[in-house]
Assembly symmetry: C2
């Protein structure tokens, strides 16, 4: 018997039929659909083939229950390799080949009401009798167009409505008006953000208009192209942060701005040039004119936003770690050197502090935890480990000096989340299996691969609970295929993920990860304690991160990055910073929500906290208990 | 018997004693005081020794009643050469050697409350626990300082009071904060205008602070230095407009911006460089640091303000004569290239239209006519002839194409109002006498000299009522000393003011002046008619102008520039544009009044008006009646 299958991949929806009792993965293959990646071949081990499925499906089997969290299961997340079709079924998955902004389970709902947009209107020729100047005629016509756009009628005069009142344009705009008003019959396109006119150009440029959501990670820069008229996502482009040559972490970048007089402007130019290029590529991919991009909403950690804005971040690097600004900034994109879209509004999302940046604020907004009556934990495991705890009634947040261990940068064979990075590692028959991004030949381990590999080596008993890699004698007592993963070099002992490709974790790598996970876990302990909530009472954990792929929550628990108590309540939320930035492009309400999140966040400084130091030491050991029961 | 004499010259007050029945001029000479200029030697002819005198004085004699208007007499204006001291007397006069901003009789009263000022305050070092960013700490401290300045106490938080709330600083200011807050213990000086922070610098810069009032005339640029803490005027500097090489009138300047791609920026650079230089000189004269100049308030005609702002004025030059902007602009002085005071607030005063500029708005504000229940006429005889009619209940304004005749620029022996310019001419024993600015050797005739000379030649009968200079035969019938003023050259007939120095009016000059005065008089006719007021019912005429010296009202009536009906109601108000700009530096209320004047002004366009053309032709002839009865 055949069952109807509705498949939503990214913005594309297709329909087809599937044989009864086929797995979703099988059905997709029959239909010629690019399904989710399934690097473990459908063994239910790697957990990469997550889809959101609704309708008549087999009950989750043992593998799914082991790999997926209770929340994920409750949200309808299934493994495509295990869930079998038993009636009409709907499937949602990320578009093949794209980095995922929104992992399964998290979708930012946003009413389409862009906070910055293009508005086209005509300014009638002036009259001899009334002598109304260019600025006044321009503002009147703009405000009328705005009122009509907002669903009202054009006001009789410029005192029409407070919400359509536009502020005094900047001198540069004023200076452009005499020329623009006398071209094309006075047909203009203005980009408006709030009550501010950001730019003006000649002609009609609002019948197609786009936004770009940007996440500037210390490691990776990701840009999402959005259609501001339909809300659809049209593409995504990403790259390793062009500033990486100046250090893997924010401190090295800041150091460069302190040491070199031109350092700030060099780093500013690198990131703005990179975003410009990504935006240009996105426009080319989608076949649109970059001039039609009306807004660029930018999230990122505080240092990244300072570098983009050209505001010296030096004071972020040393106590008391004070940023120049944390509030939202609205600029003309050209002011930031975003040359591919000079006329767009550039909105830098608000931050909380020097180490709880707009990436966290956007992420908290994106997962919606500030809206709900729950005790939720938000964790961004990036170059630093930032986290927030709370819900509707308020938020506590902090940043742990987790270091860039999990972004792969400081690991001997680490890698950013790019094609060929090992993003998933699992135990397979006493040895290990792994997958890479894009199924390309492995080039290094990205964050999720490092965490998985640590979990796998812990599960295999090659690392003890103090973080020590077993010596040759000890390893000899393990199964030969397990012991074979251990190797030695001049620089010390190693555990190989792929000996042939020289991919391994060294003892130093393990220590690096161990310190990072201890800091992260201690941060969670402090926030929960401050909030007066026991770990077991945490309702939900949102795991965000700028990794190319996503952390496996079971691995995170296995290595002690996350407490075991929350193991079944983890939602892997992906790049919430990028998702939040993209949502802000589409929705003024979402942007306003970022301001509310910022205001609701109470910052907890850990650097001088005895409480944190105690927890940090307590969390240094690796916990017991295997990641995933071995396949039966 | 001796009487006490109090002498106020500019900002300086001195006291002394005078013999009973001495003239004021004699008393000042005895006291060694630099008295007013008296080029006619105390004959009561030139009217240059006007002073404001109060106390026991002789009644105005016949000469004073002939030379001074009824309004001037009522205001206490006297001729120093005629008024005799009969008891305790107070005298006010302009400082010797200065161009006068406020002529006798007109004083702009302004409560000292500068709209832009410097505010110094300390931003405490940030704390680890609160993590307040630089921008927020800066704004909190600025707003507290503002509240204290306004006489309140510092608000508890940034929501303290709406009137002390400062808007989002510009990116450049934001970018400067991290550095500035970590210098000098966080001691800063911000320049604030309205709710905007214009600039920030390190250190205490508010214990001395200054403002500059600027009048940019097409011919002359004048800058007044003011002490923002005492309200005192500390100095004045002026020069011929540096753009003069690009034409004497606004149209030639605009033409240059149309013809040359770099024209606008060249003219912009010239005027901003000139103002910068004048400000630098003023600061040097007064021995102050130009960095302590917190505000520069700028009046000028619309074209001059467009050129300064770098906004293309092309559309002002041809119908329908539309300016890019007319509203008030507040900028950082550096945005205009005012390099000697980059951190000052630059406030461009509001205009009404392309030909009724901020000079007129500031002038109307300065004379206070929009505040009073009267039917007043305001006339600015500069490169164009702009005028306004009305009072508290509303204003009509217009601009006549008077041309630059009265600024001396198109006259064969014309001159700007500079040292050596003939500024006053009178009939003396059938021939003429004259004075020059600064009593320097005569170099040419400035506007007031031209009008006086015309009046004198009309009085002497050398020009008939059609504007024709008598031929040799006709002149032969006049007194020999009168006829001797007539001369001829290859280019035509001339009337000499000083044959030895080759100073004269040619027939072409007379025609130029005749056309200009007809346009001016016709403008007055149209405004009065539109307002439904007969000329005889006009209560007061304010005569403003950017001349180095001032027009003699009797001469203006004599040549028909002003109707005879208002001859006794003329107040020679001097450079009201500069006086207005200076007053706006000192008083936010005065600045706000400019906005109100702008809103109250209804513009009457004359260029396509049959009514104006009729009046223009009617006013072409020179009227009859001598200027001043000859001395008895």
């Amino acid at each position: 018997m055949q069952h109807r299958l509705t498949i939503k991949a990214g913005q594309k929806t297709t329909e087809g039929f599937a044989d009864g009792n086929a797995t979703i993965l099988e059905a997709l293959r029959v239909l010629g659909q690019a399904g989710p990646e399934a690097p473990c071949g459908g063994a239910g081990l790697c957990g990469k083939c997550r889809v959101l499925a609704t309708g008549s499906l087999s009950a989750p089997d043992e593998r799914e229950r082991a790999v997926l969290s209770a929340v994920e299961l409750a949200s309808g997340i299934r493994l495509a390799c295990r869930a079998r079709i038993q009636g009409e079924v709907g499937i949602e998955m990320n578009e093949a080949g794209e980095a995922s902004i929104l992992s399964t389970g998290i979708a930012v709902e946003a009413k389409l009401d862009p906070p910055a947009f293009a508005l086209s209107f005509k300014v009638p020729a002036p009259e001899l009798e009334t002598q109304t100047d260019d600025e006044t005629r321009f503002l009147s016509c703009l405000e009328s167009a705005l009122a009509v756009r907002k669903g009202g009628s054009a006001p009789a005069d410029r005192n029409g409505g407070a919400d359509t009142r536009i502020g005094k344009p900047k001198l540069a705009i004023l200076a452009s008006l005499p020329g623009l008003l006398r071209k094309d019959g006075g047909l203009l396109t203005a980009v408006v953000a709030g009550n501010e006119v950001v730019s003006v150009r000649s002609g009609n440029g609002s019948s197609a208009q786009y936004g770009v959501g940007v996440d500037i990670g210390t490691t990776t820069v990701v840009c999402y192209l959005l259609d501001l008229l339909t809300g659809k996502r049209l593409g995504v482009r990403s790259g390793l942060n062009a500033q990486r040559g100046f250090g893997a972490d924010v401190i090295s970048r800041i150091q460069h701005t302190i040491e070199k007089p031109e350092g700030l402007s060099v780093l500013q130019g690198l990131v703005s040039g990179q975003i410009s290029g990504l935006v240009r590529d996105l426009a080319a991919d989608a076949g649109i004119d970059p001039a039609d991009i009306a807004s660029v909403c930018i999230a990122g950690n505080s240092t990244m936003l300072h570098l983009l804005a050209g505001v010296a971040p030096a004071a972020i690097a040393s106590a008391p770690f004070i940023p120049g600004f944390t509030g939202r900034l609205t600029l003309r994109a050209a002011e930031l050197g975003l040359d591919s879209t000079p006329n767009a509004a550039a909105i830098l999302l608000p931050s909380v502090s020097g180490y709880v940046g707009a990436d966290i604020v956007a992420g908290i907004m994106a997962v919606g935890m500030a809206d709900r009556d729950e005790r939720a934990l938000f964790i961004d495991i990036g170059t630093n480990g930032e986290m927030a705890f709370g819900g509707k009634s308020g938020l506590l947040c902090c940043s742990t000096a987790a270091g860039p261990a999990f972004e792969g940068a400081v690991m001997e064979r680490g890698s950013g989340g790019i094609g060929g990075a090992v993003d998933s590692v699992w135990v397979s028959g006493g040895s290990i299996g792994y997958s890479t991004i894009g199924s390309l030949p492995a080039i290094g381990l990205c964050g999720s691969g490092i965490i998985d590999a640590l979990a796998a080596f812990l599960d295999l008993g090659l690392i003890d609970d103090t973080g020590r890699i077993l010596d040759a004698d000890e390893a000899g007592s393990l199964a030969p295929e397990t012991a074979a993963l251990r190797g030695e070099s001049e620089s010390g002992v190693r555990l190989y993920v792929d000996r042939e490709r020289d991919l391994y974790l060294s003892q130093a790598d393990v220590r690096e990860a161990q310190l990072a996970k201890a800091a992260m876990a201690a941060g969670i302990d402090v926030l929960a304690k401050r909030a007066g909530v026991s770990l077991a009472d945490i309702d939900r954990v949102y795991l965000a991160g700028g990794f190319g792929s996503f952390i496996d929550s079971a691995s995170a628990v296995r290595i002690g990055l996350l407490p075991a108590e929350v193991g079944d309540r983890i939602v892997v939320a992906g790049n919430t910073s990028g998702a939040g930035a993209a949502a802000c492009c589409l929705s003024a309400a979402r942007l306003a929500e970022c301001d509310r999140v910022r205001a609701a966040c109470s910052y907890v400084e850990l650097s001088a906290s005895a409480e944190f130091n105690d927890a940090y030491i307590e969390r240094m050991m690796f916990p017991e208990g295997k990641r995933v029961p071995e396949a039966t």
